[in-house]
């Protein structure tokens, strides 16, 4: 029997919420086609309810993740990089099937995504030393400013560079001790769908990273207005999308950061690996204590 006679076992792609792989509660799917328009896979078409469920999971996971030692977060992010490296082929093939530029471009993107995770793995136990400081106040007080996690942050990945863009937004958010609800690229969603497998095998605690595939316009407004979301990191936003996010965010004054990076920007290490990509997702806390015997 020749190998071509064997029927391939196709992967069922699902959402990744609270450490598990549920189907969307809506029962809807999205057809992903390859560049020639042939059907490739059916992905979950996440609903607004899925988004809200993810926020619940992320909120529940937030105190535990924030409490982990920075060294521990460093190791978990590095573990994600290890697992991603191991699945490089699968990611590259999946990305190349829909994204223009072919397999070699996709492989480059995956490699850059792995390296980005490694860079932020290293930042987890260092950014606090760069962003925080002691303050020389003119009174007998010991005064210092530290960077603390914001809480639950929604990540809206750009359409292009579906893996690298997503990782570039996600890594600073979780590195800082936040938990994340990610809406992956609508146009090229396969990488988002596979990424859950990386998280599930990397000691990332349940709920710390939640991954949704679906139609971005459907989810933005709910995300923006959600009162239990503390921040939003978005890229590839049209002006109207930005307005939607900022308008909704005013509801509970969540912090919105809109990244205008595109194309080559995602590969610019000076820009992308900076601790000032973590800074928008921390809250600076200043502590005063009297000093005197």
């Amino acid at each position: 029997m020749s190998t071509t006679d064997r029927l391939a076992v196709l992967k069922t792609y699902k959402l990744f919420i609270n450490g598990a792989f549920p189907r969307t509660e809506s029962g809807r799917t999205l057809l992903v086609e390859d560049k020639k328009g042939n059907p490739l896979a059916h992905l979950c078409h996440a609903s607004r309810k899925d988004l809200r469920n993810s926020v619940v999971a992320a909120r529940k996971a937030a105190p535990g993740w924030a409490k982990r030692s920075a060294y521990n977060r460093t190791q978990i992010l590095y573990r994600m990089a290890e697992m991603l490296e191991g699945k490089s082929e699968e990611f590259a093939a999946a990305i190349a099937s829909t994204v223009p530029g072919g397999k070699s471009r996709a492989s480059k993107e995956v490699a850059a995504a792995v390296d980005r995770l490694v860079a932020f793995a290293g930042w987890a136990d260092k950014f606090g030393q760069v962003l925080g400081c002691n303050n020389p106040v003119a009174a007998p007080f010991y005064n210092f400013t530290i960077a603390e996690p914001m809480g639950v942050v929604c990540v809206v990945a750009p359409a292009e560079e579906p893996l690298l863009g997503l990782i570039s937004l996600l890594a600073p958010v979780i590195c800082a001790g936040n938990t994340a609800v990610v809406v992956g690229s609508t146009e090229h969603p396969l990488a988002t769908a596979i990424l859950g497998e990386v998280c599930a095998t990397s000691d990332v605690p349940a709920g710390v990273i939640n991954l949704l595939t679906g139609l971005r316009p459907e989810l933005l407004e709910v995300m923006a207005g959600h009162r239990d979301v503390d921040g939003i990191s978005a890229a590839g936003c049209a002006k109207a999308e930005r307005t939607t996010l900022e308008l909704g965010a005013a509801e509970n004054l969540k912090r919105v950061t809109v990244d205008s990076s595109k194309g080559k920007d995602w590969y610019d290490l000076q820009k992308m690996n900076s601790p000032y990509r973590i800074q928008p997702f921390v809250e600076m806390k200043t502590i005063w204590h009297p000093s005197g015997a």
Partner: protein
């Protein structure tokens, strides 16, 4: 406030007539013009609106002066001046920019007495506070930020900080000059130009600051001051040439501004309201803690966004804390703000007094137990006795909403976990206080309080070098310190 039957007790500390009126600082006369125009492009000018509002001394209800109300045309003119001044100010050698700020700091110090008296006349705060806190801290903000102007390349590794452009800054009435300094000093140090809108009831010291800008030769247009009320602020925030808005005020207005700016591409920082917890553990030094509670809620008549308005006391020391607190509060002197012994001055405006009274009524009607000091209040002016409530439930209005007055809600707790849960159970996150003599506990509690500023065994301390700003719905962005610079720079790689 009408005296309550619950407050009939005699103060435990009776000073007799030892503290009759004492004017301070002695002999300082402050001249006030009958009316003030706007400060645009380095000059005072009549408003195009031709409209003025009264500025009232809240301690006497007398009109001090008339202040211009800027309309759209006035705002346009001010923003145009700031925009025109920006390229040159931005390009000015940073060390020269620094020297302008140093000069401003020095002139504030030199005119400190006059500024303190004017601040107290215009806003009603005790002279000892304007003299010892507001004015020296305002000078310090200019002094501190002056030094940053030529050091910005060293602050953010791998990034270059560049100015944003015209900054609109809207400030509140509780620390008029100090808030102007908080806003203007970092903006200028970072190379931006400014249009400032002071609060409608307290514009006079900001206009004195404008005189100082003239005295030190600050280039025209670098700072412009438009006075007025909410409409002026809204016009300023919405102006197309404004690149950044910094607002300090209520959470309600902050949200409205955030909505108005959505999608505009303008940068925004907000320093908003609070309902800050002050937590006393059984192992605290109780005398110090009680003093901190008084400092936390009665400083500046409680017109402080980070006021420690929710007091949480561990059950075992509740009786002791309340007893000592009562003695301490009964000894607070309420009255003439120009008296150097006054602890609580006048409520800033008749409107704010009405708000405070509404909250006190809510506290009573919802079932909390009210106490007020036996202080005698002057016949004229806007006054509120130091007030505190016990038997407060977390659901009570006075435990949830910002009162912005001298009203304390006292609640008890049993365990550190309960204290944290209740302290953090608020949409606000501006500040918090924690009192215990146990080192490990204080750091654990401080690190788990969701607040931008945590005062351990202290309260209401401020410094130009110390970043200030909130978590959650208390706003975003920091003011002061290294982190505060981020509010006024674009970081480029």
């Amino acid at each position: 406030m009408s005296p309550s039957p619950k407050t009939a007790s005699k103060p435990e500390l009776d000073f007799g007539n030892a503290w009759e009126y004492a004017a301070a600082p002695e002999g300082t006369k402050v001249s006030i013009e009958p009316k003030y125009g706007l400060f645009v492009n380095g000059e005072f000018c009549a408003p195009r609106s031709k409209r003025y509002m009264d500025s009232i001394n809240p301690a006497t209800e007398e009109v001090l002066s008339k202040v211009a109300i800027a309309n759209q045309a006035d705002v346009d003119k001010a923003v145009a001046a700031a925009k025109a001044a920006f390229p040159k100010w931005k390009r000015l050698k940073p060390s020269e920019r620094a020297k302008y700020l140093f000069r401003i700091a020095r002139r504030i110090q030199e005119r400190a007495r006059e500024l303190a008296v004017l601040e107290t006349l215009d806003g009603g705060k005790p002279i000892k506070e304007s003299r010892d806190v507001d004015i020296p801290e305002a000078a310090k903000h200019f002094f501190y930020h002056a030094g940053w102007a030529d050091k910005l390349d060293y602050v953010f590794p791998g990034r270059k900080g560049t100015p944003i452009g015209v900054c609109a800054q809207i400030i509140p009435w509780n620390f008029p000059l100090l808030m102007a300094a908080w806003k203007i000093a970092p903006a200028l140090a970072c190379g931006n130009t400014v249009v400032l809108k002071p609060a409608e009831t307290t514009s006079l010291t900001a206009l004195r600051l404008a005189e100082i800008f003239q005295e030190v030769g600050l280039p025209p247009g670098v700072v412009n001051i438009v006075t007025g009320a909410g409409n002026t602020g809204a016009a300023l925030a919405a102006h197309k040439d404004v690149k950044k808005l910094a607002f300090t005020g209520s959470t309600g207005v902050g949200k409205e501004l955030a909505r108005n700016l959505a999608g505009s591409g303008k940068r925004l920082t907000l320093e908003l309201g609070g309902k800050s917890p002050n937590i006393i553990f059984e192992d605290a030094s109780i005398d110090q803690a009680v003093d901190g509670v008084v400092q936390g809620i009665y400083f500046n008549q409680g017109h402080v966004c980070c006021a420690g308005s929710r007091l949480f006391v561990q059950e075992g020391v509740m009786d002791e804390v309340l007893a000592r607190l009562k003695v301490r509060i009964e000894s607070l002197r309420v009255g003439d703000p120009l008296d150097k012994n006054t602890d609580l001055g006048a409520i800033n405006s008749i409107g704010q007094l009405a708000t405070i009274k509404r909250y006190i009524e809510a506290g009573n009607s919802e079932g909390a137990q009210m106490f007020q000091s036996a202080a005698k209040l002057p016949k004229h002016g806007y006054w509120c006795k130091p007030t505190w409530f016990t038997d407060v439930q977390p659901s009570h209005t006075i435990a949830r909403e910002e009162i912005f007055g001298p009203v304390l809600s006292v609640m008890s707790f049993r365990t550190p976990e309960e204290a944290l849960m209740r302290a953090n159970n608020t949409p606000y996150g501006l500040a918090a206080g924690v009192w215990t003599d146990k080192g490990s506990k204080i750091f654990e509690i401080a690190s788990r309080l969701k607040a931008g500023v945590v005062w351990c065994n202290s309260y209401n301390r401020f410094d130009a070098a110390s970043p200030f700003g909130g978590f959650k719905q208390s706003g975003f962005g920091r003011e002061g310190g290294r982190q505060g610079l981020l509010s006024y720079l674009e970081l480029k790689s």
